[in-house]
Amino acid sequence: MTATVEAPPAPVEVEPRPRRRSPLDRERPGVRVAAWATIVVFGGFGLLPVYWMLTTALTPDGKVFAYPPALFPTDVTFEHFAALAGNSQLFGYLVNSAIVSSVTAVLSVVVSAYMAYSFSKFRYRGRRSLMYLVLSSQMFPQALLLVTLYALFDAYDLLNTYTALVLSFTTFTLPLCVWMLKGFFDTIPDSLIEAARIDGASQLRIIHSVIVPLSGPGLIAAGLFAFVRGWNDFIFALTLAGPDKQTLPPGLTNTYLGEAQTAWPELMAASLVVSLPVVVAFIALQRFLVGGITAGAVKG
């Protein structure tokens, strides 16, 4: 048991750097090997499909529809992306997705900010029950809600409208957005609000001029999350939107899977395009996310 090859260079710094070493880092080779084996096998399961989506999207039709498939592309083409760009029907779905998701984002931020502020800064009877109600509302299966929601929207002539989608998506974002924003507002000291009140600001004015400017990052994170929620939804858009207002997820499903021979490379290219805004949004909000998902316990 010779000292495991740890030949640390003599500490040059006068002050010892407080190194928080993970207990596993001194580890024996066995643990290292196990860690790498896990990464190769499980990480491969995670990343190889991404590689395959990319490869398929960039491969000409003639090479894609061959068996056994070539694992490494020899010809690279952008023709499938070009085909998407020239498809006016898909462009319509894209516009619908953009409109529905953006309006959802704005409405969700407004509604959940008011709600979160009330939960965070005031104490009243029933507050706790309300918070539980918001939290548990995401637990009800959407397929079941649709059984009568469809007729309800129909009764108000809201079927095949953006409104039906925006109202539904906004509601489903409440648990996460309210929780996330409540966490944000909790860190704003009450004394600030009291000071504004003494200065004669109205309750609403306090929210708009004191709280909102202090909560920019939280509001943006909530908005991005709500955007993604609307962007990714499948079942509501499939059921309530009708052909004209359909968003990308059901639109792509109906366009490509409805055909006898699916144009897989084009569908993979479209998949990359649909995923892109979500990835961008995530990169923007990732530092809020881990706390947020624990709190609201919602998944996009």
């Binding site: 499980f42 989506m53 068996y67 694992l71 299966p141």
Partner: protein, 302 residues
């Protein structure tokens, strides 16, 4: 997990808001009532009526719908839903926990891997479905290509249209979409384990496996309970992946409660039967939700 009920920064009393505080919650409450609460209750109530999506009017039939469902579809639906739910929770848990442990070591490239491995979780559910349909494609799929080259199978398999393999294929697809979230949550949990605990255990002569069992796992018990319960709840009602990939087929072998309720209502136009399946589904789901709320409640108290 202080984020569940962050009280820090706010004195316990709170501000006096009176009517204003209530007004603030009204828009959100109205949405919840219209989009969740009313539809939920009225959908469950239709279980006791004969009612069509396309014709007006309904008639009370008592427990007829429920009896009809219990007589025919219920057991296969329950079995398939449970297989899907447990499969899409346990497999991602094992993969997510394994990766979390591996990425919690100081290996090279872990920052990149942590980010890259989130991609499967980020893509929309329909994209997951498209991708795995293509991978499992009977004629040109890469799954067949690789497995045949490795000699695992002799001839191309129609994974998604064979009753014996469709459920496994759907579970694999959903696993791919689920494991990153579990990985992130467990990794966050692992990073809260105080290194001193491990060091003390090491001094006491505990090996890696022993420390994992006696230090890591007990410390993570709360978060493990939470992620497993939440994933069970989500998967118990999951719709998108199954519906896009197989539509519940072949021969109904991947049909779950979610798909059955949807098809009965939207394609079959039979609201009463959809409500009856939904009612049974809801009762089972409630067990999971109550469990979840209890875990949250316990975690919330310091």
């Amino acid at each position: 997990m202080s984020t569940v009920a962050p009280r820090r920064g706010t004195p316990g009393q709170g501000l006096s808001g009176g009517v204003f505080a209530v007004l603030l919650v009204l828009p959100g409450l109205a949405l919840l009532a219209a989009v969740v609460l009313y539809p939920l209750v009225s959908s469950l109530v239709t279980a006791f009526f004969e009612q069509s999506l396309v014709a007006p009017g309904r008639s009370f039939v008592g427990f007829d719908n429920l009896a009809a469902v219990l007589d025919s579809d219920f057991l296969p639906l329950l079995r398939q839903t449970l297989v899907f739910t447990v499969g899409t929770t346990l497999v991602p848990f094992v993969i997510g926990f394994g990766l979390a442990l591996a990425l919690n070591t100081r290996i090279r490239g872990r920052g990149f891997l942590r980010g890259a491995l989130l991609l499967p979780w980020l893509v929309p559910a329909v994209v997951t479905s498209f991708l795995w349909m293509w991978i499992f494609n009977a004629n040109y799929g890469v799954a067949n290509g690789v497995l045949e080259t490795l000699g695992v199978i002799d001839e191309p398999e129609a994974w998604l249209s064979s009753p014996g393999t469709a459920m496994a294929a759907v579970i694999i697809a959903k696993t791919w979409a689920s494991f990153p979230w579990m990985m992130v949550m467990l990794l966050a949990g692992l990073q809260t384990v105080p290194p001193e605990l491990h060091e003390a255990a090491q001094v006491d002569g505990a090996g890696t496996v022993r420390r994992f069992r006696s230090v890591t796992v007990p410390h993570l018990r709360g978060i493990i309970g939470l992620v497993v319960l939440l994933e069970l709840i989500w998967n118990f009602q999951h719709f998108d992946t199954i519906y896009v990939m197989t539509g519940g087929g072949p021969a109904g072998t991947t049909e779950t409660f979610a798909v059955a309720v949807y098809d009965t209502f939207y394609k079959g136009h039979d609201l009463g039967r959809a409500g009856a399946i939904g009612l049974l589904w809801m009762v089972l789901l409630l067990v999971l939700v109550v469990g979840y709320l209890r875990v949250v409640d316990r975690e919330e108290k310091p």
